[in-house]
């Protein structure tokens, strides 16, 4: 396994399966009265959030705390970051604090890569979402959720068909999911209006469609991406209404899925835009479960990365 988790492409199939398997075991711990494990006692995990994301921040905090790590959360708001302190100075501060792992969320694509490879810090870097690049732990928790529903918690996702719909162009979730689900053997189809498909998407390991009704029949899962209404101001689509007519998920469309097919969304949702409330709260929806699974998957990631980091440290 790589020292850092910056991209879903950093994970081999064996790495990914190992993380998911670990997460399955760790999920059982959360059913106990004592939810804490002593594994990372004495280790420091810093959550460095340059961008507001309560959901992801809380999930990583819970994961690190359940492994008994010391957790320091550093949010842009009210910190020196908002006063113009650079990424580098922040990194040097964290290094001085002795951070073993830095979980970083940043509005700029590649900021975690920069932290990991600039020589500013020694610790392990976990990408918790960078710009319009990647969000690998989201992809892991999505894969976990898919596996739980489609493959009874073991093996990979071979042959499963997952449709990802929406603003692929600006979506770090889509990028990481395409890479990871492909690694795990699933077939992925991206659906979006052509304006919201990245240049060169034809070379990604997935199918492409502009027609949601044609892509959904028989699929095992559909993942709806958040679409910001402001995108229409930049002429990506004419109106919110037209978008949801062509690319929104309603009951009729969700019924095109295979039997047992599930509906996913990384959140936060725009109900009425990309997904109707009826579907979001309906029987196929696993959206709430995704949040729960996030903690287990992130525990597994921290455990495996910090475990590996030390062995490397001993060897060198």
């Amino acid at each position: 396994m790589n020292k850092h988790l910056l991209s879903a492409a950093d994970l081999t199939r064996d790495d990914a399966v190992a993380i998911l398997d670990t997460a399955v075991e760790l999920a059982r711990v959360s059913d106990r009265t004592v939810k804490k494990l002593p594994t990372l006692r004495g280790r420091t995990v810093v959550n460095l959030f340059f961008e507001d994301s309560t959901r992801t921040r809380i999930s990583f905090e819970a994961a690190a705390k359940r492994l008994s790590a010391d957790v320091i959360t550093f949010s842009a708001k009210g910190s020196s970051v908002s006063k113009g302190e650079s990424l580098k100075d922040t990194a040097l501060t964290l290094e001085a604090m002795g951070a073993d792992a830095i979980v970083v969320r940043h509005g700029a694509s590649g900021a975690p890569h920069r932290l990991a490879h600039s020589g500013w810090i020694d610790g392990v870097v976990v990408n918790a979402g960078d710009g319009t690049h990647e969000h690998p732990t989201q992809a892991l928790l999505d894969a976990y959720t898919l596996r739980h529903h489609l493959s009874s918690d073991e093996g990979a996702l071979d042959g499963r068909h997952v449709v990802i719909v929406g603003d692929v162009l600006h979506s770090r979730v889509a990028r990481s999911n395409v890479l990871l689900l492909h690694t795990l053997g699933a077939r992925v189809t991206l659906v979006a209006p052509p304006t919201l498909m990245p240049v060169g998407v034809e070379s990604w390991p997935c199918g492409i469609s502009y027609d949601l009704d044609a892509a959904l029949p028989g699929a095992d899962a559909v993942m709806m991406l958040r679409v910001q209404a402001e995108r229409m101001n930049a002429a990506y689509f004419p109106s919110a209404n037209e978008y949801s007519r062509r690319y929104g998920l309603d009951v009729r469309r969700s019924d095109l899925l295979a039997d047992g097919g599930i509906v996913m969304h990384p959140g936060p949702m725009n109900r009425g835009m990309e997904i109707t409330a009826e579907v979001a709260d309906g029987p196929r929806s696993v959206i709430v479960e995704q949040v729960t699974n996030g903690v287990h998957v992130r525990m597994a990631v921290l455990y495996r990365l910090l475990g590996a980091a030390d062995v490397i440290g001993e060897a060198s």
Binding site: V29, V34, L40
Partner: protein, 181 residues
Amino acid sequence: MAARTPPGVRVLDADDISRIVSRIAHEILEHAQGAHDVIVLGIQTRGVPLAQRIASRMTQIEGVPVPVGSLDITMYRDDLRLRGARPLHATEVPSEGVDGRLVVLVDDVLFSGRTVRAALDAINDIGRPRAVQLAVLVDRGHRELPLRADYVGKNIPTSRDQAVRVRIHELDGVDEVVVEG
């Protein structure tokens, strides 16, 4: 324990192991005065089939089912920094739980005692047993913690740099214990 078993010696064979399982089952029942509040937990991985064998022997003797489970202590180890992350195995606690019960931990080899220390921590997070006892197939000495086993299949003198290989039929296709190195 300065003694040293010559390398390559098979110190236990299948019959020996079978006799030991039976003996330990009897000893546990004798100590506990019956099986009514005993649960047997095997430490992953080779402690698990041994625990199952001991529990099923106890069930045979007593005529009442003895609950058996498994305990994965990976997340409780103190050597993450030295040996890195390892795959996790299942922790299956019987539905009766451990509260108020006599928990018999089963492992294949007792060496430094660190595994047992981790297992005690793990049990502590699961519940509050009346008492915890320890059964091992082999005690090879070299303790680093103030621990001892309640039931020992066989004491095998080793030097610290030797390896004791336990093979269990359910996992390895054969029952034997061999000293190497």
